[in-house]
């Protein structure tokens, strides 16, 4: 894990900035206390991760005027995301000034205020991140406060419930959970009354780097930078003891020995798996021994069907991790490696410098607490398809085995019996298209990120052709795996977006997409299709994409190909008749 720089170092990083950053985020920070340190730390932590954060800071306590005044500096700046931090301490200090009759309605008014802010930001296409409220302390009623509707204690908690409710109802509304951070850290560690009353700092400089890390991770998750896969060791990581030596009935899981700690750890991993984090096993073990607990031990929480790729053998872990990557195909930087053995961790760290390799505590009883404190799994979205990911990779592992049976690639592809469908952007597929747009880093020609709202607008734009591709084969459904957006510029179709899930590389899907694009371009009377490759630190794999597809190079990294004389590329993918051609977006004539 990368160490967290202190506030002074973060401010220095912020000053120096990152000019070469592949990921550039544009945000605004609005607060009702002094926010300069937090702003500097946000910029600094982004730079620490190799990203650039362009951050607009308002003078403190200017939240409403910045948001509601159409001519404000905030709107002049035009952020992607607006971060709003209202301090619980400030609410506490003003609470006594409210008439008692109004105190009981504080949280509902707070909810109205938050909702109005969010709606104003959403109407401009900005995303909102709200800090929820740390408990500022009450001490007016003691524990009886819980029973009194108008106590500060109750109202603060209800404010957080309001935030939870509002965020749950909107995709573009996220919450930074400052209350959870306070529970972790304690009030005394994060709030210094002296700094608050002399300088309006509601967070101590000591904790600001941790808060900045959490917020930047939320921002970065939107850019596709987040963890997708956990690679697990078995002996003394998922259970106590060594299954090969101790035997199935002597490993510690369930009630035996330290079993309850391992059960709790597995239960947490199971929840990760259920929300779409892919679990893979990489263990130095005899394969039959390694599988036995998953199949036979009654107290195992994780079962074989929870593991996307299961590798137990005597080869070194770096080799096995490369094999896992060939199946799961996410960046090494999107993987987290859990192993009780420091030597294995070191080897993996050296082999894959971008991989997250937490220094697990020596005592297994501490594993879960350690990981919850580390809190490494941010995401900016969640769809039901995420939860299917394990099944998809299990299917992919079967495809890999199948591939090894064939000498000729064409024979293999034929044997897959692939069918693809082509659709426009429709309400049912826009969430998945948005997710791909935000997450795809490798097979992504221009890395333009779109929100659901923007995609819905593109779907109806007469100047755009929006295409979403799904692929099935005899092993299963790969789902929506490729997206193309053409912008019509006179007689030219400019490829604004072409991205694809790397899971379906090497299947001829690019050629299928190209055929579809040219078919539609010809129908629409376009003379040529022009593509562009915008390099980032992650999309080198598509550097030669257009050259490989027969486009001719033009200046400025642009590539062109005429529709006249286009010969359909040979593919082993059949077009699914369903939804075609009627589902193609038709141009509006008005």
């Amino acid at each position: 894990m990368t160490n967290l720089p202190d506030i002074t170092r973060l401010l220095r990083l912020a000053r120096n900035g990152r000019k070469d950053a592949a990921i550039v985020m544009r945000s605004a920070l609005l607060a009702d206390t002094s926010s300069q340190l937090l702003a500097g730390a946000l910029r600094g932590y982004a730079a620490h991760l190799g990203m650039a954060l362009e951050l607009f800071e308002a003078e403190f306590d200017q939240i409403e005027s910045q948001v509601f005044d159409p001519a404000s500096d905030l709107h002049g700046f035009g952020p992607d995301t607006v971060i709003i931090y209202l301090a619980g301490e400030k609410i506490r200090d003003g609470f006594g000034k409210l008439p008692v009759a109004e105190r009981g309605a504080f949280a509902s008014r707070f909810g109205t205020r938050v909702q109005a802010l969010h709606q104003a930001l959403a109407s401009r296409g900005y995303r909102t991140i709200f800090f929820n409220l740390a408990d500022p302390g009450d001490a007016v009623f003691g524990n009886y406060a819980v029973k009194v509707a108008w106590s500060l204690q109750n109202q603060i908690r209800q404010c957080n419930a309001e935030l939870t409710r509002l965020a749950g109802a909107a995709d573009d509304f996220l919450v930074y959970d400052l209350a959870a951070f306070q529970a972790e850290l304690g009030r005394a560690g994060m709030f210094d009354p002296k700094l608050y009353y002399t300088s309006k700092f509601a967070l101590t400089p000591a904790v600001i780097p941790q808060v900045a890390r959490g917020v930047v991770r939320l921002l970065a998750a939107r850019q596709g930078s987040f963890l997708k896969c956990v690679i697990l060791d078995l002996d003394n990581t998922l259970w106590g003891g060594v299954v090969g030596d101790d035997g199935l009935d002597r490993i510690q899981i369930g009630d035996l020995g330290l079993g309850p700690a391992f059960t709790a750890f597995q239960s947490w991993l199971k929840q990760l798996r259920d929300r779409g984090i892919v679990l893979a096993v990489c263990s130095k073990n005899d394969e039959a021994n390694a599988r036995e607990p998953f199949l036979k031990h009654p107290d195992m929480v994780l079962r074989l069907e929870d593991i996307a790729v299961f590798l137990a053998n005597w080869e070194d872990k770096a080799t096995n991790i490369r094999r896992i990557k060939s199946i799961i195909d996410v960046d090494y930087g999107a993987m987290l490696f859990l192993d009780d053995n420091p030597a294995e961790r070191q080897l993996v760290r050296e082999s894959f410098p971008t991989m997250q390799v937490p220094e697990l505590p020596e005592d297994p009883a501490e594993y879960l607490a350690f990981m919850t404190t580390l809190n490494p799994f941010e995401t900016a979205s969640y769809t039901a398809q995420d939860a299917q990911r394990t099944n998809e990779y299990q299917t992919e592992a079967r495809r890999h085995q199948e591939r090894e049976k064939f000498v000729d690639l064409g024979d293999f592809l034929k044997s897959l019996a692939m069918r693809a469908s082509v659709r426009g952007f429709l309400p049912f597929n826009i969430p998945r298209v948005a997710q791909l747009s935000q997450r795809s880093n490798q097979f992504n020609l221009r890395t333009v990120r779109y929100t659901e709202k923007q995609l819905a607008e593109l779907a109806h734009s007469p100047r755009h052709i929006a295409l979403a591709f799904e692929l099935k084969d005899r092993f299963g459904d790969n789902g929506l795996i490729s997206v193309v957006i053409l912008e019509i510029q006179g007689l030219v179709g400019f490829v604004d977006t072409w991205l694809m899930s790397c899971r379906v590389l090497g299947r001829g899907m690019e050629q299928f997409v190209l055929n579809t694009v040219f078919e539609i371009a010809a129908e629409r009377g376009l003379a040529r299709v022009v593509g562009e490759y915008l390099p980032t630190s992650k999309n080198g794999m598509v550097k030669d994409h257009y050259a490989k597809l027969g486009f001719q190079a033009e200046p400025d990294q642009r590539w062109t190909l005429a529709t006249a004389g286009y010969v359909a590329r040979p593919v082993h993918i059949a077009r699914e008749p369903a939804g075609e051609p009627a589902a193609f977006p038709s141009p509006k004539t008005n």
Binding site: T8, S34, T198
Partner: protein, 82 residues
């Protein structure tokens, strides 16, 4: 000046204000030093509290006029903890 306390203070100021050539005198104050503003002032106070394991009061922080006063305050606090 070869005074351990003064050397520590100089190191803190250099680190926080990101200026390796910074030298401090008894009468050095915020207006003499680039980057010493209300924000870095807070960082200086916090860093000094941490380094010398002392706590200042809100009133003391607000009254500080220059580095000499800060050094004197640290010495008083070290001699007789609040």
């Amino acid at each position: 000046m070869n005074d351990p306390l003064w050397n520590d203070l100089t190191a803190i100021f250099r680190e926080v204000l990101d200026d390796d050539a910074l030298t401090l005198g008894e009468t050095t104050s915020a207006k003499d030093v680039a980057g010493w503003d209300s924000i870095t002032h807070v960082l200086l106070v916090v860093a000094v509290e941490k380094k010398f394991r002392v706590k200042f009061t809100a009133g003391e922080i607000q009254k500080l006029q220059n580095v000499g006063e800060l050094a004197a305050l640290i010495r008083r606090r070290l001699a007789k903890p609040a």
